[in-house]
Amino acid sequence: MTIVAILVLAAGTYAFRITGPLLRDRFRPGPRVTRLLAVAASVLLVALAVTSGLTRGHDLAGWSRPAGVLVGAVLAGRKLPFLVVVVAAVATTAGLRLLGVH
């Protein structure tokens, strides 16, 4: 990560955050645009989670990492506390590697 990239991301994010409070009464985005922005954020987060959980470089990531991610996803779906979810995922992946499964 470079300082320029961080500053671009920071400045753009600040612009998104401050536009609403600054414009307040003059303009409000419609429900369609609001929904589109929300769905786009979710789509990107899921795509990132799936690709970084299942692949490494251009290939599949073996067994241990996808198994840990799967355990974490199932526990998160059952609404277990955040801490439990993350620790269980990491422990699953580490445990499998300890057993020689990569």
Binding site: M1, T2, V4, A5, I6, L7, V8, L9, A10, G12, T13, Y14, F16, R17, I18, G20, P21, L23, R24, P29, R32, V33, R35, L36, L37, A38, V39, A40, A41, S42, V43, L44, L45, V46, A47, L48, A49, V50, T51, S52, G53, T55, G57, D59, S64, R65, V69, A73, A76, F82, L83, V85, V86, A89, V90, A91, T92, T93, A94, R97
Partner: protein, 206 residues
């Protein structure tokens, strides 16, 4: 309300620590996660940008992916515009949780108190967590031996799960993830995730 905010703070401290640890154990210098957390202050975008860079993508592609994620703060800003004063500071510490807490309150004074308490507490806790994670990550050495590479995808899934209860969002996310996964073998890092946005075509209406 304070107890709920405290619980969110504890969780975010752990997430912040994992962000710092993942960054340095992935080879980034310590100032990178610290500067991102102070200047960007948005967990999802930070993990997304870091993930793209650690996968070999370009820093500018990482920044653009983060910006697409943070575009949600535009509608959020309109939603909580009344409680963000003073605007210059209030806008910088705007975060998903504080927007949610503010919108859940009945009157404007309570909403304002909730927004500022949650925003400022999370800003401090998040950055403390990241610095702690940077030092922990240095001690760990090889993060893969400890399974830390499984942490960041799971964090993203846990953050996004409530939004997937919406059928249209779930459909769009499933199509997007399939497209990203299918194109990963043949496209440069970072591009498949951006391509996932074609999933929006099947999102339907609210």
């Amino acid at each position: 309300m304070l107890a709920d905010i405290l619980l969110v703070c504890v969780a975010d401290c752990v997430v912040g620590a994992s962000f710092g640890a993942i960054a340095v154990s992935g080879g980034q210098p310590g100032w990178v996660p610290v500067a991102m957390s102070l200047l960007v202050f948005a967990g999802g975008a930070q993990f997304a940008a870091l993930g793209i860079v650690l996968a070999g993508g370009s820093p500018i592609a990482a920044a653009l992916a983060g910006l697409v994620l943070n575009a949600r703060y535009l509608p959020f800003g309109f939603a909580v515009a009344d409680v963000v004063r003073p605007t210059a500071v209030g806008a910088h510490v705007m975060i998903d949780e504080s927007v949610a807490f503010a919108l859940a309150q009945r009157d404007r004074e309570q909403a304002r108190a909730a927004y500022w308490t949650c925003s400022l507490a999370l800003f401090v806790i998040w950055n403390v967590g990241v610095v702690a994670g940077v030092f922990a990550g240095r001690l760990i050495g090889d993060p893969n031996a400890f399974g830390l590479d499984a942490a960041s995808p799971v964090v993203l899934i846990a953050l996004v799960l409530p939004a997937l209860r919406d059928r249209g969002t779930l459909r769009a996310a499933a199509v997007g993830a399939a497209v990203a996964l299918a194109t990963t073998p043949v496209l440069p890092p970072g591009v498949p995730v951006a391509l996932a946005l074609v999933g929006l075509l099947v999102a339907g209406r609210a």
